[in-house]
């Protein structure tokens, strides 16, 4: 298997994208490891050159794999391919712009660099600036005042320049992999002549099943991430509430944003999922009317969607409706949260699995018709 074949596969392309992103991040972040003990720091120092070469080599492989899109003249691409390429470059530019701004803001907000310049140095241990200890900020200040500032600036510049140059290709590669995956059925259909007996009803059913499958596949990974992260988070909260462990300032700095981000992502997933469930109900009803799925499947989709709604509002409703609920110990409250959130996730996931499997079966039946037609 040559490089082009390997990178022409969905797994190959995505692995390469992850590798490029990981190596770039490790190369940049490894500079913060200098306060480590000598052997580790020495190995990191020695691997700087190899790291930068590996970054460039991986990127060039990716670029080679996508040469048909990235290096093609505009007149050799159709309008959709051009739009795909332009969108990737636009997104790449936006990301670089935001990363640049983010790095700048992080340096200004997390480290009082301005004070450093104004007062000719910033003493991290000074009590004037530290009502409460802020370990991450203090670490950054100490680190930036150390001997690595120039190396940091050089590496930051190199990584930003590299990102600006390669990120559009990375975006294009990731999307191209999704493009290939979602079009595997299209590849089978591309050269097949249409089924002579295909009626507009058949086409409508296939379109409905495809739409269900598309919505399910788009949402599956998001739901899986929440299904893993959310119970883990609640379980950790229960454990902390039980042990009454002290959470230090550093933990707050780390867990505060994680908690906020995870809760926002979970709520957004839940509500976005409910809208998708509404569409699934409508589409599975269409399939029942066309006698392509059983009424039992449809009733399960409806029941589980209703259950999702009930479970999601049960806890806040209990909290506001039952005054005694507010007097429960915190641990019991977390347990209730764990049970209701898992019930919500399970019912929502089950809706998607049932509707997705029904759609998958119908698409397989339709593809079988095409295969039979093509071979006969």
């Amino acid at each position: 298997m040559n490089a082009r074949n390997l990178l022409g596969s969905v797994t190959g392309l995505r692995t390469m994208v992850i590798a490029v992103c990981a190596i770039t991040n490790i190369y940049f972040l490894s500079i913060f490891a200098y306060p480590l003990d000598w052997p580790t720091a020495h190995v990191l120092d020695e691997s700087q050159f190899q790291g930068s070469v590996l970054m460039v080599v991986l990127f060039l492989m990716l670029r080679f794999a996508l040469a048909n899109l990235t290096a093609a003249r505009a007149e050799d691409l159709d309008e959709f391919q051009l739009k795909m390429r332009d969108d990737a470059y636009r997104l790449g530019y936006i990301v670089v712009r935001r990363v640049g701004l983010g790095v700048f803001l992080a340096l200004v907000v997390l480290t009082p660099l301005t004070e450093s310049f104004v007062y000719g140095g910033y003493d991290a241990s000074s009590k004037d600036f530290h009502v409460q200890s802020q370990p991450i900020r203090d670490f950054l200040i100490r680190w930036l005042q150390g001997p690595h500032l120039l190396d940091f600036a050089a590496r930051l510049f190199f990584v930003l320049a590299f990102t600006a140059y390669c990120f559009p290709i990375v975006v294009l590669a990731w999307r191209n992999a999704a493009f290939q995956a979602s079009l595997s059925n299209d590849d089978r259909l591309a050269l097949a002549r249409p089924v002579a007996s295909a009626s507009s009803d058949d086409l409508q059913i296939r379109a409905t099943a495809s739409e269900i499958q598309l919505r399910v596949s788009q949402f599956r990974k998001q739901l899986a991430l929440v299904a893993i992260a959310w119970p883990l988070f609640i379980a950790a909260a229960v454990a902390l509430a039980q042990t009454k462990s002290f959470i230090g300032p550093a933990s707050f700095e780390i867990f505060g944003p994680i908690t906020f981000g995870l809760m926002s992502f979970t709520l957004w997933t839940l509500f976005a999922g409910m809208f998708k469930q509404q569409v699934l109900i409508k589409k599975t009803k269409d399939l029942v009317r066309a006698s392509r799925i059983s009424g039992v499947t449809y009733r399960w989709v409806v029941t589980l969607s209703l259950a999702t709604g009930v479970f999601s509002i049960a806890l806040p409703a209990l909290f506001y409706a039952a005054p005694t609920f507010k007097t429960l110990p915190l641990t019991l409250g977390w347990y209730a949260g764990l049970i209701f959130s898992i019930a919500t996730l399970v019912s929502q996931t089950a809706t998607f699995i049932i509707a997705g499997n029904a759609a998958k079966r119908i698409i397989a039946e339709e593809l079988a018709k095409v295969d039979v037609s093509a071979s006969s």
């Binding site: 159709d78 309008e79 959709f80 391919q81 739009k83 795909m84 969108d87 999307r175 191209n176 999704a178 493009f179 079009l183 299209d186 259909l189 591309a190 050269l191 097949a192 002549r193 249409p194 089924v195 002579a196 295909a198 507009s200 086409l203 379109a207 495809s210 598309l214």
Partner: protein, 77 residues
């Protein structure tokens, strides 16, 4: 390739698959006739990409129907 803005996805209703089937053309044949990649046809058929006016007119010419027969404006919200 990426997802289109919702407004764009929902406003154009494409019947191109029906007309292609009626004309007895495969995606590859239709793609060759209008000079695009066959995967682009798949995206247009699934309503995930709205073609330009030039491409829409090419489809109409190849399938021997009017552009309005193939593409309709969906309900505006």
């Amino acid at each position: 390739m990426g997802r289109k803005p919702k407004a764009q996805e929902e406003q154009i209703i494409s019947s191109i698959e029906q007309f292609r089937v009626l004309a007895g053309l495969s995606r590859q044949e239709l793609a060759d006739a209008v000079d695009v990649h066959y995967q682009t046809i798949g995206y247009i058929e699934r309503g995930e990409y709205s073609p330009s006016l030039v491409l829409a007119l090419k489809f109409a010419k190849v399938l021997n129907v009017s552009v309005e027969d193939i593409f309709q404006l969906g309900e505006l919200k």
